[in-house]
Structures are given as structure tokens and as C-alpha cells.
Symmetry: D2
Subunit: 333 residues, 4 copies
């Protein structure tokens, strides 16, 4: 870590600062320049509070040279992590096609969708049981019952399942779930992350709507620092001023993350765009950007024609998408 001190810092101020840094078991290498003084901090700087350091008046700027994440860091773990979840593998060249309905609604629905997406090549079934909703008055999901229906769909198709947890007190309900999802709104619910770090299950960690990629990696680090190194990162759009799409899908996240970390990176174009007709082009784009998987909402509701065209794809639309994605993957190999 490098701290640059402002011109005019007094020797007494600097002495105080250096003493404080040494108190944290850091070696401090001082390089006095004409305009500025540069402190090189050597040792375990992951404990240093950068925000506090930056906020000191004498400090011009602080720059981490070594990243604050260790276990998620590709530098210390050059090979891609490959995550095994039931029959599916994600990362290190294994591409995952994750598909399923936004919410689990009934046994019939989830099994029918599961069969359909499997037939089109999906490798993992998704479906919401606990639903984080902006409004307390909105449908909050089928909860435990929803998970049981997902497990039935898994038994019927062999597809591993992924579903979201909102509260660690419900962890027991996830015994047969293959991948536990942490939603965007909980990306910095640090207590939840720590508890999931104590499990042995793969965790699919969604990027928060206003979180930087470094913060995403720090949240992965929370899980990994407790002993669970099975983390899948998921880009699902960030908040910007643009309103033509629900969120702005930040596909540069894929190569940036691949550079910084060995963890697999998947992309969710359904939630990011919020419109069915944008899902296929963005799924193709994510694939071409090198994503290790994509998550697609698929519904199957023949009695409800009105839903055609919503954010979810129909099984035939998903079949088309899966075919295109496969062709792109072949070309990129």
C-alpha cells in the first residue's frame, strides 16, 4: 500500500502517522520527494482502513498495490476455479446454462419448465422461492414449499437447482439445494455472507446495483475467508441514469473479473434488461465476452397468453437462444 502525503505535512504529524501504521504490524518505507512524501506500507495491509487513511488531512491519496482480497485473487490462485454442483460444472472452460422461472408457482409449472429447459440444453434449474420484494404488500414467494417443489423438479430431471436465500435462519430448508444464491440487495449483508462461508455449498453471489467489482470481490472474500471457496460471481446490471433498460448490464465486468479472480463469472440478462426481446442479444453478448454461464428466466404458462413477451422467455424462445449460444461457444473455443 502506498500513501502519498501532502506538501506541508510536519515531521511531528508524519511521526504520529508512522507510529500508528507500525502499531498495525506494518513496515513503513519512507521516500521523501520534493513535492510529496511517499510512504510504502509493507506487510498485511488488508487490515488497514483505507477510508480512514484517505480521510486524514495530511494524506493526498492512498493506493493499494496489492489487492485487499486474497483468496479470491488470481495472483495467488492462477488456475480457474471449477465449481461442481450436482451434475454441472462451472468455470475453467465449463459453460453453464441456468434457466427457469422467476418464481416457483406450482409443482406442475416447475416440472414442466425444468423438462423444457433441460431439453434445450440447460444444465442448472433456477427458480425463486424466497422473493425479495420492494413492497411489503407484494407476493414474497412460496418459501419453504417452493424449495420442495424445486427439489421435485430436480428429481424429475436430474438438473441441479439454484435458489435465493434471504435470511440465514432458513438455511436448513436449503439442504437439497445445489447452489445457494445471494441476491443483489444482500451482497453486502456481511453477516449472511459469513454464515454461508461456513457451509460447504456453492454460492452464487450477485453484484449489488451500486457496487463496484472490487466490492463484489470483497464480498466473495467474506464467504471464502470462512472456509467456503465455492463462489460464483454474477453480473446482473447496475444502476445508472439510463431508463431504456431496467438496469445497465455491465458486460466489461466479465473480462475485468476474469483478470482479477479465478472464480467463475455468470451473467443474468433477464433481470438486467427487464424485457424479453433484449434477453437473447445480451445473452449472446455475454457469451462472446467470455462469461462462464448465463442465467435466463423461462416461464411456461400456456393458460396465460398475456405473459408472452414479458421479461421471461417461452420455452421455444429459450431453445433458440440456447442454440445460438452453443454456436457462439463453438466458434470461441
Amino acid at each position: 500500500m502506498i500513501a502519498i502525503l501532502k506538501h506541508g505535512t510536519t515531521p511531528a504529524q508524519m511521526e504520529h502517522l508512522v507510529a500508528w501504521l507500525k502499531h498495525m504490524d506494518l513496515d513503513v518505507h519512507i521516500s521523501q520527494g520534493r513535492e510529496v512524501t511517499i510512504l510504502g506500507l509493507i506487510g498485511d495491509t488488508s487490515r488497514v482502513d483505507m477510508e480512514l487513511l484517505k480521510s486524514l488531512e495530511m494524506v493526498e491519496t492512498v493506493k493499494r498495490v496489492s489487492e485487499p482480497y486474497k483468496q479470491a485473487n488470481r495472483k495467488f490462485h492462477p488456475n480457474d476455479t471449477i465449481i461442481q454442483a450436482g451434475s454441472a460444472r462451472i468455470g475453467g472452460g465449463y459453460f453453464s446454462l441456468i434457466a427457469g422461472p422467476c418464481s416457483v408457482e406450482s409443482e406442475e409449472q416447475i416440472i414442466e419448465v425444468a423438462k423444457a429447459v433441460k431439453a434445450s440444453g440447460a444444465t442448472i434449474l433456477r427458480g425463486g422461492a424466497f422473493k425479495p420484494r420492494t413492497s411489503p404488500y407484494a407476493f414474497q414467494g412460496m418459501k419453504g414449499e417452493g424449495i420442495q417443489l424445486l427439489v421435485k423438479a430436480k428429481q424429475a430431471t436430474g438438473l441441479p437447482i439454484v435458489t435465493e436465500i434471504m435470511n440465514i435462519s432458513t438455511l436448513d430448508l436449503f439442504a437439497d439445494v445445489d447452489i445457494i444464491q445471494v441476491g443483489a440487495r444482500n451482497m453486502q449483508n456481511f453477516d449472511l455472507l459469513k454464515e454461508l462461508g461456513k457451509t460447504k455449498k456453492p454460492i452464487l453471489l450477485k453484484r449489488g446495483l451500486a457496487n463496484t467489482l472490487q466490492e463484489l470481490l470483497m464480498s466473495a472474500e467474506y464467504i471464502m475467508s470462512e472456509g467456503n471457496d465455492q463462489v460464483i460471481l454474477c453480473e446482473r446490471g447496475i444502476r445508472t441514469f439510463e431508463t431504456a433498460t431496467r438496469n445497465t448490464l455491465d458486460l466489461s465486468a466479465v473480462p475485468v473479473l476474469h483478470n482479477l479472480t479465478h472464480l467463475p463469472v455468470v451473467v443474468d440478462p433477464s433481470h438486467a434488461t427487464g424485457k424479453a426481446h433484449l434477453v437473447e442479444p445480451m445473452a449472446c453478448a455475454a457469451t462472446a465476452a467470455g462469461a462462464d454461464g448465463i442465467m435466463i428466466e423461462v416461464h411456461n404458462n400456456p393458460s396465460c397468453a398475456l405473459c408472452d413477451g414479458a421479461q421471461s422467455l417461452t420455452p421455444p424462445q429459450f431453445d433458440d437462444l440456447a442454440r445460438k449460444v452453443r454456436k457462439l461457444r463453438e466458434v470461441m473455443a
Copy 2:
């Protein structure tokens, strides 16, 4: 709620949609125009999933006419809510000066700061015991012990105390806390909000870094819908492209929220700006914008001269600020 359907929607599609809406106990008033068809939805539309409705291809746009929050809504509760927390009142003309250190560090520290800020006119003592930190390797606060020290400072000064909760499983530790704070990162931790809604304690709810004011009100509604109507809203900066300040303090939030809700609104300029020399001007600005209170970080660390100038104010700096804020309040009365 108004839904505008696109030109070209077929009668069959519209019939399906209307049937679906009526299924949710809504009356649907259809107004067929030349270019568009407008559906007026009458009844309890707070249960309608706007995102789903918007994502339908046939739907041009959806607009709530009545806000999705009820208990937080000024329309149904025109008078300002006044919250009593120990000896302090907030809202409805009562202004709160909340001050204290970022983290509780020792009994000596917290009592000294508490006495200092009280002498300058603070009405509530703040101090972090559970600290949400981006890094798992950073100091996470004194936790339960920190709360006990806050309680001692309360006994020594009579100041009511506010401190942050991160996990509902620690609720018992907050028995003697006067106001429970929900941090920005947990603003949409809906399960935590619901549980806090079952307590009788005032909740200070901080706006998330990427959350709209309407989402802040919906999170307040989560607490209120469980029976706890003692919610204080707190603006503490949002994330934008600007890097000159840590976050961008959105002071327009104050009059906007006062218009929409009867709940008190306080402002935290210390976290928003991240620099001590910006705290006083932004505290004054918040006061002039009509805030019901301000939250200021104050430390007292004579042995650590280096901290002077960081985000926290020293007691004499706070004393100056408090005097200015009082003068502004008098003028505005």
C-alpha cells in the same frame, strides 16, 4: 394505477390482461383512445407487481397514481410524526443534534465524547458497536461490549443512544438502546426490516447508496407494516460518478421526503462527504434545507494527533458547528 397499452394490442390480449387484473381484485376502467388504450386500475394496487406489468410487450407504460406506501404516506397521515427517544424528540419542529464517534473504542473515550457533545448541545449520542466493513479482515467493532459502553455513556450523561444493528439475532443486546440504526447496506434487507417492525423501538433507517427515495419509503413501510411506526429516515449520500466527495449528499431528499411522508428526516454529512472540512458547510446546508436533525461524527483522541482533520470533528469543531446550526434554526423558525 394507470396502464397504457400499445397501439396494436389485440382484443384477445387485452381480455387476458383484464382478466388477470380482475383476478387480483381490481376494478378495471377501460378508456379506448385513437392511439392508445388506457386502463385505470382501481382497488388495492399496492399488491400489483409494477415491474411485471411493465415488462409485458403490450404495455407502453405503467404509472402509479397512488403511492405504493400507505403508512409512511403523508396523504393518509398529514401531521408530522414526532418520535420520542429517551429525552429527545425528533420531527414536527423538534430538531436533533446526533453526535459521537464512528466506533466505540473504550469506556473512557465514549464517556468523554458523550460529555463533550452534550456540552455543545447534542441531544442524542451515536457510536458504532457493530461495524459493517467492506473487508472481512477489517475491525468489525466491539459488538456487544461496545453497546454496554454506550449504555454507560448514556447513564453518565442522560443522552439517549443510537447504534447500528446488522443481524436480528443480536437484538437482545439492544435492550437499552434508544434508537436502532439500519445501515445503508441493509436498507433492503427485508427480513431484518420486518423483524424490527415487531419491536417497539424507534428505527433510524439510512438510505442505501443506490436507492431511490421511493425505495427508502417502501423500506420504511416494511417496518411500519409490522406495527412499528417509529421510523426516522436518514439521507447519507448516494453513489454517482463524482469522486471529489466519498458520496454525493442529496439534500433535495429533505424537502422531497417532507412532501411525501410524515416521518422525520435527518442528514449525515460526515459519511456522505468523508472529509472533516466539508462537514460543517453541509450540516448548515442540511439544516437550511429543513432537516429534522443532523448526525455528526465527533472523536476525542488527544493521544492521536494524526486523527485531527479526518472525517470526524474534534469537540471544539463540533461546538462551532452546533452554534452555527442553532443560529440557522432560529432564523428559519
Copy 3:
């Protein structure tokens, strides 16, 4: 256009409003509901100032049903516009590979790069002559002389050329330029747009860093409304809170724009990401998203080894990229 009036609007207020709207030659269709009153405005609403209408206290919301752009609108011009620029075609299935150095530096440099990118399959040569720079003290480009060198490179290779204009007073210098570029910072320099609308040259219009896609289309409309319908839209990244990339490349812009307009859409991943190693994955992603072309910075500076790895690609790196993009295009056909 639909205007929804608030509950409580008096008949007198509404009468005033309706009179004002009729004064603008609009028909007003009033639909009085229980909670709200809806005004349907029929006629040429492109002249109505939505911001003013919205700012009226009695108005709940205003929604355009017909887009405010006409000539750029796919509804009135369903077929893709194909733009011919020298030997190159863009749009309607014709894909353009635009490449060249950030700045024109010398005759030798630009001709060498032009030959190299042509050999790799580039169809258009780019190069900056007038350079918009944040600092008045930075190099502002070779200006007119730079354009002359671009013209020499065009003569040497047959590649059509694109370069940026910053000031309409320099238009004469662009006589032999095939496509005139309007930079992101000038996207809403309306006087410049109007003047370019009076020329017969194709215009490559870059999206501003904080501009919505609708604003981009309105700026295209400025050019088209003066008689020049040869506009190419360019996504080059928007400003967000994320700092891992220089800007956030918004690839959803490609399918969104294709839906709204018949104009071709190209993507510039070099400026958006600011790092060479991100250019290829994002160029592939843009191609897979359906872009009509990509713009890539390529330099050729054997005497300056330090530049390897900067935002610009070397000719061999560009050759690799071009090959991948071609393969993706084949698969997508």
C-alpha cells in the same frame, strides 16, 4: 401524448391547461376518472415541452406515446438505413470494421497503420486530427494537417476515412473526409448538429457520457431534420460509479436502438474500456449483440515499445480481433 392530472385539480385550472394545449394546435381528449383525469393530446406533440408540462403542480405525470423523433423513428421507416461511405457500407446487414490510431501523428504512421488494418480486413480508417482534450495544455491534434495526412492514407489504401469535427468553422477542411464524427462531448452541441444536417456527408454521432438513448436519437433528429439522413449512431460508454473501466460500455444500447430506429449502430470498445486487454472481449460482445460495426484504436509504433498494452491494439492484436469478429459474424448470419 398522455397527461395525467392530479386529484384535486380544479375545473378552472384544467380549463386553462386545455386552452393552452389547444393553442398549440393539439386536440385534447379528456377522460375523467375517479382518482385522476387523463388528457390525451392528439396532433403534432413533438413541439410540446414535456419538462414544462411535467413541472406543473397539477400534473401527475406526462407520457409520450409517440416518440418525439420522427425521421430517426423505425415506425415511420421500417427498413434499415444503409449508409454508403466511399467503398464501405454500414447497416442493414453490412458490418463495418473501423480502425486506426487515436491521433494522426505523421504521414508514415498513418499510412503504415492504414495498410496494416486494411490487410486485416478493416473497411474504414479512423484517426483523430482535431482532438477534444479536457486540458487546454494538452496536445490538441494536428488539425488540418492531420486531415491531409488521412486523405493521403485514403489514397494509398482506398479506405474511406472518418475523423472528428469540433467546430463548424473548420468544415471546409473535411471536403475529402468520408464520414464526419461528432464526439461525445458535442452530442448536444445543437448548433453544430444543425449545420452538419445541411451537409451531404454521413455523420458518426457518438453518445454523450451522460446521455440517454432517447437523447441520442433526438440529436440524430437534429441532423436529419435539416435534410441529412446519413447518421450512424455510436455507443462508447457512459459514466457510472464503476472505476474498473474508464466508462461503462452499455451494450444493451445496440438492441434497444435497433428496435427504435433504422439507423446503423456501431460500438467503440477502445474508448469505453480504456485498456487494451478489454478491447477484444468487448468487441466480440458488441458483435454478438448485433452491432453494425466496431471502432478500434490501432497504433503502429515500433520505436516506442512502451505503448504496447495501452488502450490501442498493435496490428497483430487487431488481426486476431478481426478474425474472431468475422467468425462471430458468420455464426450469427
Copy 4:
């Protein structure tokens, strides 16, 4: 300027880089550390292209130690600049109350408003003659005729006038204008800035919707570097995800800018918020934050009752605001 090189940079790479930097007349001071190598660049670094330097693969980070603006920099010009515009002074303790209609509409209107705002204490009259509009079909202002009417209002009241320029070719029309305004969309129209730098008139420079404060200062530097040091900076809201207000007024800009520059800083709450009822609280907040002036839209249209409540204030509303602002100024003195 400090450049930190990555671990693993070869001596040859470093040699190339150092040679390149020396070529720009910079002294380079090398400090080789264990983890990184730090280059201190000494000399006129304002010509160094930071973006290019940053984009080199071997460069970890680049940090300016001295700001890239000189003439706008408080370090080299510690005393506040006081700008004289007709009878008005702005900056250095002189507070300006700038008021007037959004657009000049008629002689009667502008003179009536001018008299009204003068009676309430306004020191400068504002009014739009050239109007930058998102749509080519919207009213673009009365142009030269509008300026003539402003001049008549100036003659009638003695108030100096400020109005916006969009195109340098219209400069002659501004001969009797006291302050020329550059709108947010033209903040980085560098050619316009340079031409205005050759005039002797005070320039009111509005911050762009997606521009950082440093970029605002660099744009001021463009004007000043041509010889005109009469620049007034104006905060008018930035673009964020929040939609409750038209833009997000960034009031922290006031103390941040006061710290960095000697130029006066005014605030425009009318355009930022877009709603009349938010103008007064935000004008008060801007005043308390230490702004050197505020710009307020005031209309006077007795025949058009519908306009009451729009973004513009009525003369009586403005009179209230002016009184409050004056009281706040007294308290802050």
C-alpha cells in the same frame, strides 16, 4: 505527478517510459521499492496525458500531486476573485441574487419581471434568448431579439443581465450583455470556451450533467488560459439514478470548489430540482453551504394561471425566498 509501476516491469520497459517522459521536459525521480517502483515526475506535468499514461499495462496507477489547472487554482491565487458585472459584484463575500424568466417572451414580460425581482432584492437579471432544446422541433428562443429585450429591461431597471450563448458566431449580439452564460451541454465545447476566453466579459460556466468538479475547473482553465479570468462557476445538478428530482443538486460542490479555486460559485436550484416547491429549500441550503449567489427562475404571467406551481416562482414566492436568503446570509456573516 506520481506514476506507480507494476511489479514485473522490465528494466527495458521502464527505460522506454522514462525516455518518453524526459522527452516531455520532465525530470523523473525513480524510487525502487520491493513491490512497486514509483516515478516522481517533476516539471510542467499539465501537458502529460494522464489517460494515456494510465492505459499502459506496466502502470499500476497515476496520481497528480499538483492539480492540472493553474489559473483557476487557489494555491497560486489565494484570494477570492471578485467579479464585477455592471452594478453587481460576485465572490469574495459579495452575494448575488440572479433572477428572471426561463425564456424572454416579450418586452412587457421581461420588464415586468425585471422590476419585480429588483424590488425583491435581485442584483442580476437572467433570461434565455438562445435556448438549447433536446428536440429540434421545440421553441428555440427569441434569439437576437430576446437579447434586445433583455437590454431594454436592463435600461429600465439598472440590473446587469446574464444570458446564454450557444454558438460563437452570435457573439456580436452579446455586446450589451454583462455576463455570458455557457450552458451545461456546452461545458466541454472547448472551441467555444477558447473563443470566450478572448473576450473581456464575465462568463458564467455551468457544470455539465456528467462532469466532475475537476473537469469543471479544467473548462474554466480553457477560458482563463486565453486571457479571460472572469469566470463564475455554477452548480446546477448532475445526473444520477434518482428520478424524484429532475437532476441531483450536488451542494457539496460549493465547499469543495471554494477549497480548490478562487473563482465564485453560484447555484441554480430551479433547473436542478425542476419543481417550484423545492426551489426555496434548496436555495436556502445553497446559501448555507456558502454559495456566492443563487440563480432563480421567476415568471410573471397573470394571464396564464396554469403556470403557477411550475418550476418558476411567482414574484411573491421569490420575494419570500429572497427574504429568507438574506436572513441566512446575515446569520452566516
